[in-house]
Symmetry: C2
Subunit: 405 residues, 2 copies
């Protein structure tokens, strides 16, 4: 064994802890840029309003930057930095799903590091420090609150790739499952499956260590226990006649049972983020990024289209590879399976259970896109692809895309 485990974030986990945002942020600054997506979070009385009130009560002046889009671009980061400079902010608060959290990280970084972001992402320029970050996830998926990754898309090249480093690990992440509980069913499914693939990929990575493997396998068990039940409950509640209740209240499970499940899923998502922070992602993320970089696909849906074929081809190539068999066996065990051979079917059935059995074709990818996507996957994700337990070359990558169409 040889590894480093260094994750200086303070993970503050618990229902109701969103109320600690002001007090926590006041430790790090007096003027906060609140990075979010314009939408349900920014409606009156929504999460962003609540965040701003809470910050103000703690003596922190908030400036809202709601210009984040799904799959955030360098232009989003530039606009965020401009807003930050105009308000002279000294701390960055990210609130929302993966896109605003990753954008918050990139803005906190770009505020102290001039030049082209791509140079930092591809390691051509050594990164410096970042402004202090406080992150509040409102989905249970990205895990961005538990690592030093920020996924960005360079629209000049279509490259979707992570800025990485300890400087963009949050000082504090507030993980309050009361926030993620209000997700619509399709967001729950897509973000929850993203979290599951983080755990899958970290558990299979060649750069896994005992800490990341334990995190990943624990995350898989928690997601199995919680995500399908919560999705089913969302659907059942959506079909109920009482539409006067808020989304938060529309739940048919007993309140105590629901809290336990939402906590499990929220913690699993953070575990997935922590696990990939140490072990990295491998093939499914490596192959999904070109797809969502090209077509602005929801990340979790893209992963859902690709992951079954990744498992199929991996198992076909695992003969005689004892290390791969061992890792796949541990992963299958965490999935409650007796054999690794059951993994592709398990994943397909799991996706059907959460309404996410989609193909790349349904998401807008055509056979003609495969050559560019395969080349781009090797350009932006070759280290992750190389960390997969069986080697995949460009023809294998094209085969996975073809099976996923």
């Amino acid at each position: 064994m040889n590894f480093n485990y260094h994750l200086p974030v303070n993970l503050a986990f618990g229902r109701g802890r969103f109320a600690e945002l002001g007090q926590t942020t006041a430790t790090w600054g007096r003027r906060a840029l609140v990075v979010c997506v314009d939408g349900s979070a920014t409606r009156p009385g929504g999460f962003v309003d609540r965040a701003c009130e809470n910050l103000q009560a703690a003596g922190v002046t908030p400036t809202v930057f709601s210009g984040v889009v799904a799959n955030p671009t360098f232009a989003v980061v530039d606009a965020g930095v401009a807003a930050l400079r105009a308000a002279d902010c000294d701390v960055v608060v990210g609130i929302g799903g993966g896109s605003p959290l990753d954008a918050a990280k990139a803005i906190a970084f770009a505020a102290l590091n001039a030049g082209d972001m791509a140079d930092y992402i591809f390691g051509r320029v050594a990164p410096g420090d970042a402004l202090p970050l406080v992150l509040v996830p409102t989905t249970a998926g990205t895990g961005s609150e538990g690592n030093g990754f920020a996924v960005l898309t360079d629209t000049r090249t279509g490259d979707k790739k992570s800025l990485r480093g300890p400087m963009i690990i949050a000082r504090t992440s507030l993980i309050d499952s009361e926030l993620s509980q209000t997700m619509p069913a399709r967001v729950l499914a897509a973000t929850g499956f993203d979290a599951l693939t983080h755990c899958f990929e970290a558990a299979l990575s060649a750069t896994a260590n005992p800490v990341t493997t334990a995190q990943a396998l624990s995350g898989i068990r928690l997601i199995r226990d919680s995500l399908p039940a919560l999705y089913a409950d969302k659907l059942q509640a959506a079909g109920s006649v009482d539409t006067s209740a808020g989304e938060h209240e529309r739940c048919t499970l007993p309140a105590d049972a629901a809290c336990v499940l939402w906590d499990k899923l929220a913690w699993a998502a953070t575990l997935g983020g922590m696990a990939i922070g140490g072990a990295g992602v491998t093939v499914a993320h490596g192959l999904e990024h070109p797809a969502s970089g090209l077509k602005d696909i929801t990340h979790g849906a893209g992963l859902a289209a690709i992951t079954p074929a990744v498992f199929e081809l991996t198992l076909e190539r695992a003969d005689g590879n004892l290390r791969a068999q061992e890792q796949l066996g541990a992963l299958a065990g965490a999935c409650g399976l007796d054999s690794r051979d059951a993994l592709p079917r398990f994943v397909r059935e799991f996706l059907a259970d959460i309404g996410l059995d989609v193909t790349l074709g349904q998401l807008g990818i055509a056979a003609d896109d495969i050559d560019w996507m395969a080349e781009n996957a090797l350009k932006v994700s070759s280290p992750g692809i190389a960390s997969h337990p069986v080697p995949f070359d460009i023809d294998d990558i094209k085969e996975i895309y073809r099976r996923s169409l």
Copy 2:
């Protein structure tokens, strides 16, 4: 679930990584106080010599303070601070078992915090910062490298209690099982059992969280897998005719298998330290500290004398306590047992396997000492005792001591 997980230490784990000491320490300072115990570590060519050479090669000037004793006292800390000031040190390196690591933490703290250490330990004065710390464990037991505890003895009162806080979490801990591999068999047994009790107590603590519980249960499995086998090997090797080999080489296991076992034990010890860092210790440590505070007993031996009776009385009181039964069941599972009722016998047999089946009487404690020890346990350890899954009052504590005599 409601918890904070914040452990900013960089755990650098791996055989041979002791060689990174100078480079790591140079990140934090130019003049290092090297805190250690005078003995095998300070012999020519020993760990301290190697540490100093390595520091010097990286441009760090070492000053050795070898005045640490087992169960370090405030006087040791004062002497360490005097040595630190005389050499104008700006970073503290602790190398050895629990005593020098904890002394290093306390010295790094006392260098920046004037007054009586007891005031900080008992929370009468709020603690400030500490000098940066780099820790190198040479036993697999204390786990001090993975938390912000430093156990100290106040000779004025006999109180043995932890200074606690994030300021004394190491910046980097180098965990290199090549160092712990050279422990004599009796040190291996005592320190390894200390690590096991850290895991036991963290798994049972009322302040446990999902992170600390996973760390604790994983630590138990790793210690079961490694400690008895390594102890048996030490005994067998000690009896072998080839006394020309160094202690390091005196091993009958194949080298690869030995490396795996030493790595498992070293990582388990760090997991135990991490687990108690979040969950705290409970009854066995709470009752052992008065014993070793009074008679300068080896900490692991004191724990060995007390732990079986703690399990006995806990099981006798667990009827109808579902939470306690659940925690004891999980702990029994990690021990490979079908039932929690098998725990006392498992612990006694485990102790016999590692030559540590001792009583408090054999360690110098008399029946007359019990009243003071019970009162002192409640004075210094009442929060930990209150975190045990079944309540124990002073009469119960006396009963545990009586059964352990």
